[in-house]
């Protein structure tokens, strides 16, 4: 049951601001009702933590600087089951540490929001420079079969907007939601308009209200695999959650059959709701010879290239993924069946392009405009690929 309410005005810093993406993430989280943040500072994401910490006394939130990123996500699991909307923020190396407990959060169906302000990797890589190199890690990084949701904002305004969206998705599907932004968006300042609380819709936690002795922390096999309600630790409910395969009561069940029910649920609650989750922006796809598919900061550079291509008479469409995971499979498949080529620029050596290739399945050319990270593309590189795709 998804219940939407108006945002608590206490967390909403209404008005126009000139703000960077990192700060906008924190403001979006506060507007969404997040009141618990546990994290460990890392460039280029630290400003989000600083902002959240600074605003905590005003809104009545709690900020904890943890000993590391492993503990940060553990604290989020506790915070969420303690009744709060919870968030952390990190970058590459910290993300690697968080993965173990992101798996635990998926298994225990604990709602949380994790922002990854991407920088160049691998390892400590390029701490101060931009990248989109963790896109596959976001999807596959923790072990086992599971699903998460990942969003990619292209501006400080969208950092604010998508932070709210991320919390709403996390509560609706009881799943970790990743905001895959990057150093460029994180550190650029632009106008951010924060609407009044009365115009912000937030999804309330689905609280259990039945008899205390009948609560089950999990619900498998509901319509569209929607997850069941939660309770708050300390409210007198006896329940158990675990990383082991479990039944609806949360008790470990080491059997093939239990695994089938449990894991199917984790996957299908996202996959069977894909159409409701996936968000994108499409422009002039009809009749396009070439379509550029991109996300995050790269999508802004891509628009420039697309405009240049159109000036040269090439019918070029533009498709911006706002949701990267679950992947917009249906949309890309449809594009691939109609165009000569899809061009995929990303600030990595070719990651989401693999998904595009999977959907295109040989129906059109797929051209990767990749990079080793550290800088946004030169629009001319993308333009050259558009021309190559048309020929």
């Amino acid at each position: 049951m998804v219940r939407k309410v108006k945002a608590d005005p206490k967390g909403v810093l209404e008005g126009p601001h000139f703000m960077d993406g990192d700060h906008a993430l924190a403001e979006g989280a506060l507007a969404a009702g997040c009141r618990f943040f546990a994290g460990y500072p890392i460039t280029p994401s630290t400003e989000t933590a600083e902002r959240f910490a600074e605003r905590c006394p005003e809104v009545g939130g709690l900020f904890i600087q943890m000993e590391d990123e492993i503990a940060s996500v553990t604290a989020l699991i506790g915070g969420a089951w303690g009744g709060q909307k919870v968030m952390t923020v990190t970058s590459g190396p910290g993300m690697s540490l968080m993965l173990e407990n992101i798996g635990l959060a998926c298994m225990t169906e604990t709602p949380m929001v994790i922002a990854n302000v991407q920088r160049g990797g691998p390892s400590t890589g390029l701490p101060t420079l931009t990248a989109q190199q963790d896109m596959m890690q976001a999807r596959w990084g923790s072990h086992g079969d599971y699903r998460v949701i990942a969003l990619a904002p292209d501006s400080p305004q969208e950092c604010f907007d998508l932070a709210i969206e991320a919390f709403n998705l996390a509560e609706t599907y009881r799943v970790p939601v990743l905001i895959m932004t990057d150093e460029t968006v994180g550190h650029m300042h632009e106008k951010v308009v924060i609407p009044p609380a009365s115009e912000i819709e937030v999804v309330e936690r689905n609280w259990y209200t039945g008899p205390k002795d009948q609560y089950k922390p999990f619900k498998f096999g509901a319509e569209n695999y929607m997850p069941g309600p939660m309770v708050k630790i300390g409210d007198g409910y006896r329940f158990h959650i675990t990383g082991l395969v479990h039944d609806e009561r949360g008790y470990p069940q080491a059997s093939v059959e239990a695994g089938k029910i449990n894991i199917t649920h984790l996957i299908e609650k996202i996959d069977s709701n894909r159409d409701k989750i996936v968000r994108f922006e499409a422009d002039q796809l009809d009749g396009a010879e070439v379509v550029v598919v991109s996300y995050g900061i790269t999508s802004r550079i891509a628009i420039k290239a697309v405009m240049d291509a159109r000036k040269e008479g090439i019918k070029t469409g533009n498709f911006r993924m706002i949701t990267c995971w679950p992947f917009p499979e249906k949309q890309i498949r449809e594009i691939a069946s109609k165009v000569k080529a899809i061009v995929v620029p990303e600030i990595n050596y070719g990651q989401m392009v693999l998904e595009v290739e999977r959907m295109a399945a040989g129906k059109c050319k797929v051209i990767s405009v990749n990079s080793t990270g550290g800088a946004v593309h030169d629009p001319n590189e993308i333009l050259a690929a558009i021309k190559e795709g048309r020929s």
């Binding site: 000139f18 101060t128 460029t184």
Partner: protein, 195 residues
């Protein structure tokens, strides 16, 4: 579209220059502005720079490629960034701190003793506001009203008035210089016609 680079050394309020100007433009002048800054170990102590891309439409590419305006408040910044300023671009220099190359006419040079003016107002820390005032008068990129609306959250409250004054001084200095320049240009035209 206009690309602007503010540069100097750490401590001169270079980042603040772009923050104040960017906020003024995007919140109160009804245009789009995207601000980025040098971010890395090189920003500490040495040459420091902040960038603004200003446009009537949404800014797509967020970084400065060929600046049309360069503000250089230190020798190192001038040496580093002057060569990338576009032909015919506007160069604003702190004349007491920057020893310039001979003027070849490649760019339009607007000198100002910003630090000295700020010191006359009581504190050299106001130099960046003097520069923003001068910048506003010379480039017309931002209106004085917008800057004054943008200031309150970006400078400490107790220095708000002094910063406003610094802005006014720089703006007046810029207007005077523009008037003199216009007069000189007109005179040159007249002389040419007579010849």
């Amino acid at each position: 579209m206009m690309e602007v680079r503010f540069s100097g050394f750490g401590g001169q309020g270079i980042v603040r220059c772009a923050l104040i100007t960017g906020k003024a433009i995007s919140l109160y002048d009804d245009k789009y502005a995207t601000m980025t800054q040098s971010f890395g170990p090189e920003a500490r102590g040495g040459a420091c720079s902040s960038q603004l891309v200003v446009s009537e439409n949404r800014v797509l590419y967020p970084y400065v490629t060929v600046p049309g305006v360069l503000v250089a408040l230190s020798q190192e910044a001038y040496n580093k960034y002057e060569p990338e300023l576009g032909n015919g671009g506007i160069l604003i220099v702190e004349q007491d701190l920057v020893k310039q190359k001979p003027d070849t006419g490649r760019v339009q040079i607007f000198p100002i003793p910003a630090t000295r003016i700020a010191e006359e107002l009581g504190n050299r820390l106001f130099a960046n506001l003097v520069v923003i005032g001068f910048f506003a008068a010379v480039t017309k990129c931002v209106t004085p009203d917008a800057v004054k609306k943008a200031l309150p959250e970006l400078v400490p409250g107790r220095f708000l008035k002094a910063n406003m004054q610094a802005f006014d001084k720089g703006y007046a200095y810029g207007n005077d210089l523009m008037a003199t320049k216009a007069g000189a240009d007109k005179m040159a035209e007249v002389c040419e016609a007579v010849e």
